[in-house]
């Protein structure tokens, strides 16, 4: 018997607005994701990448189609049940970091653990652990305003993986960062995928970043146009820095 896919999208559409102003942000998307994959989603602006990520991440509900997560029909869940799904299985990294202001890195990373109902001591340990993993072991008590963009994004990644999710969804995680910081972030994600077996789905505009993934999904106009392994062999940091 074949292993059940972690995520299965069948004919997913997401329509914004009505009548004249109607936008088909997703238009019959089919996609299957297995545990342990590292997927990059690319495509022109407005092609529906973020919309797809939000649907997969259960932050938004599709207008039509079937979304099976571990065999469970997500479209039938209530918003509270979707919250539970996010809480226990999904981690999100946003382009704009979305950290709580005036709140230390540690407390930001603790946030999802609070809703998991973990006791404070354990929360602290897990959050510190996650921050160490992204190389911020020495910045636990800094506020976002005291961190660089790359550091803030690493806090956001730590937050996404602190609760040991099955999938981390990252929407343009390096969109605001320079090449060097971007590569650092990508290496963090790649290590999480390789060493911890974390499933990662990432949206990016940069070919070089997409190369860190194993599989590339190309979207145009709310549809998936191409879906296959990334072509080039994985570039080393040295190659990038030579450019």
């Amino acid at each position: 018997m074949a292993e059940m896919p972690l995520i299965k999208l069948r004919g997913i559409s997401r329509i914004y607005g009505q009548g004249e102003a109607m936008v088909r942000a997703l238009d019959g998307v089919n996609m299957t994701v297995h545990a342990g994959e590292f997927i990059a989603i690319m495509g022109p602006s407005g092609s529906g990448k973020s919309t797809a990520m939000n649907v997969i991440g259960c932050l938004d509900a599709p207008t039509d189609g079937h979304y099976l997560y571990n065999g469970v029909e997500v479209a039938k869940l209530t918003s509270d049940q979707r919250a539970l799904l996010r809480r226990h299985y999904l981690g999100f990294v946003f382009q704009g970091y979305n950290l709580l202001a005036r709140t230390s890195a540690l407390q930001n990373v603790e946030l999802p653990l609070i809703y998991k109902g973990l006791p404070r001591g354990q929360r602290r340990d897990m959050a510190a652990e996650a921050l160490k993993k992204v190389g911020l072991g020495d910045r636990l008590h800094h506020d976002p305003s005291e961190l660089s963009g790359g550091q803030q994004q690493r806090v956001a990644i730590a937050r996404a993986l602190a609760g040991n999710p099955q999938v981390v969804l990252a929407d343009e995680p390096t969109g605001n960062l320079d090449t060097k910081r971007s590569v650092e972030i990508m290496e963090v994600l790649r290590d999480l995928n390789r060493d911890d077996g974390l499933t990662i789905i990432m949206v990016t505009h940069e070919e070089d970043m997409a190369q860190f993934a194993d599989r590339l999904v190309w979207m145009v106009d709310g549809r998936i146009e191409r879906d296959g392994p990334t072509k080039r062999p994985e570039p080393s940091v040295g190659v990038l820095e030579e450019k």
Binding site: G57, D60, D80, L84, R86, Y115
Partner: protein, 402 residues
């Protein structure tokens, strides 16, 4: 989980220290102002009532001048005479005492000390009717009244001002050109409702006053004491009839004098305290409103930030109700802190104000609850409803909120 929520809320309160402080401040100002004002207002009203009762319900005052707006108009009409005083006392059966009062303000001097004070010409009947007790010395001898001798009886305030710690009896003070021997000191009655000092005066025989101070024989008030149990209305009517006769007022003509009983005086005074209480209440209401608007502003200004925060919480797996409860608890904790500080401060200010005005301290639990309830409601409503709206959005909408 509830404990966790409270901890979270308290963390959020400290994280947004400025916002929390301003919210609390709004509540404190509103609650404290209302409590302080109403406490002082009610104390004053009670004091007026008590003062009037202390004066006795068997007192009438006859004043020259037609009645207008609840009080006599003043001196345009003919003054009263000592014969009027004696007539009221002798010819009306229910009157036990009628005392003459002639009054002005002048400077009293002793050695290097001096003070502007009430100079009153009267006789022993006033001391009895107004229930003054002697601290030292004695009342006037009949001969002294008869001859209008320059002998004074003074109040405690004037004594303290002129004599310091010394005994005034036997000393001589100067009032205008009159040298006046002090023969008695009256026991202090303290301040009245409006803080007016009741012990700041020098009394002398009315003849001395007329000859040496006023230069005429006018009596400005007849202070009348009516027999206990007798009808005040009857006494008032009798005095009016007598005075109309004595002042030759024809039937149909209006009185050119006024007989006031304590009820009228009380009405006049409580009219003043009503205005005072009204003013205080208006100020208090404005403070409450200002506090409320302050809270509202802070809450509305922070809606964007809060909406994004709610988006983040929802994105990491919070359920809408968990977020709501947290924000509600936060609003309640802030309101409680603000409310308690406000109540404490309000009672403190009320106590200070009451002491300063020398009125009883009368906090009103209903008003305290009302002020607290209003501020808390503003805090909770304006903290809670934006949060509820945000929690009902999907997380992405909330995160994008501008």
């Amino acid at each position: 989980m509830l404990w966790e929520t409270i901890t979270l809320a308290i963390q959020a309160i400290f994280r947004n220290a400025l916002r929390s402080f301003l919210t609390v401040l709004g509540i404190v100002i509103g609650v404290a102002a209302v409590i302080a004002m109403v406490t002082v207002g009610q104390g004053s009203t009670e004091q007026v009532t008590a003062d009037v009762e202390k004066l006795g319900t068997n007192v009438l005052m006859v004043l020259p001048g037609a009645e207008a707006m609840g009080g006599p108009t003043g001196t345009a009409d003919a003054m009263l005479t000592i014969n009027d005083v004696n007539a009221v006392q002798d010819e009306i059966g229910t009157v036990t005492l009628a005392a003459p009062i002639s009054q002005t303000r002048a400077r009293a001097v002793f050695g290097n000390e001096n003070r502007r004070t009430d100079i009153v010409g009267t006789d022993n009947r006033y001391l009895e009717a107004a229930q003054w007790d002697f601290e030292r010395g004695r009342p006037w001898e009949p001969g002294e009244i008869q001859a209008g001798k320059p002998v004074c009886i003074i109040g405690e305030t004037l004594r303290a001002e002129l004599f310091g710690t010394a005994d005034p009896v036997g000393e001589t003070i100067r009032i205008k050109t009159l040298s006046c021997e002090v023969i008695g000191l009256l026991r202090s009655k303290g301040a009245s409702t409006f803080g007016a000092d009741q012990d700041d005066f020098a009394l002398m025989p009315y003849r001395a006053f007329h000859r040496r101070i006023a230069g005429n024989t006018d009596i400005s008030t007849i202070y009348v004491s009516v027999r206990e149990g007798a009808s005040m209305e009857r006494a008032t009517e009798d005095i009016e009839t007598l005075m109309r006769e004595r002042r030759r007022i024809r039937p149909g003509e209006d009185d050119d004098f006024d007989v006031m009983d304590m009820e009228q005086i009380a009405t006049m005074l409580s009219g003043i305290t009503d205005i005072l209480t009204g003013l205080l209440s208006a100020v208090a209401a404005v403070s409450l409103l200002v506090g409320g608007i302050g809270i509202m502003n802070i809450m509305l200004v922070s809606v964007t930030e809060r909406t994004r925060e709610i988006g983040i919480r929802l994105a990491v797996g919070a359920q809408a109700n968990q977020v709501l409860v947290q924000f509600l608890v936060e609003a309640i904790v802030l309101s409680l802190i603000g409310g308690l500080i406000g109540i404490g401060l309000g009672l403190g200010l009320g106590l200070l104000g009451s002491n300063w005005l020398a009125v009883p301290f009368r906090p009103d639990p209903a008003i305290i609850l009302m002020a607290f309830g209003f501020s808390a409601a503003v805090g909770v409503i304006f903290g809670f409803f934006p949060a509820r709206r945000a929690a009902r959005m999907n997380p992405i909408e909330a995160l994008r909120h501008e």
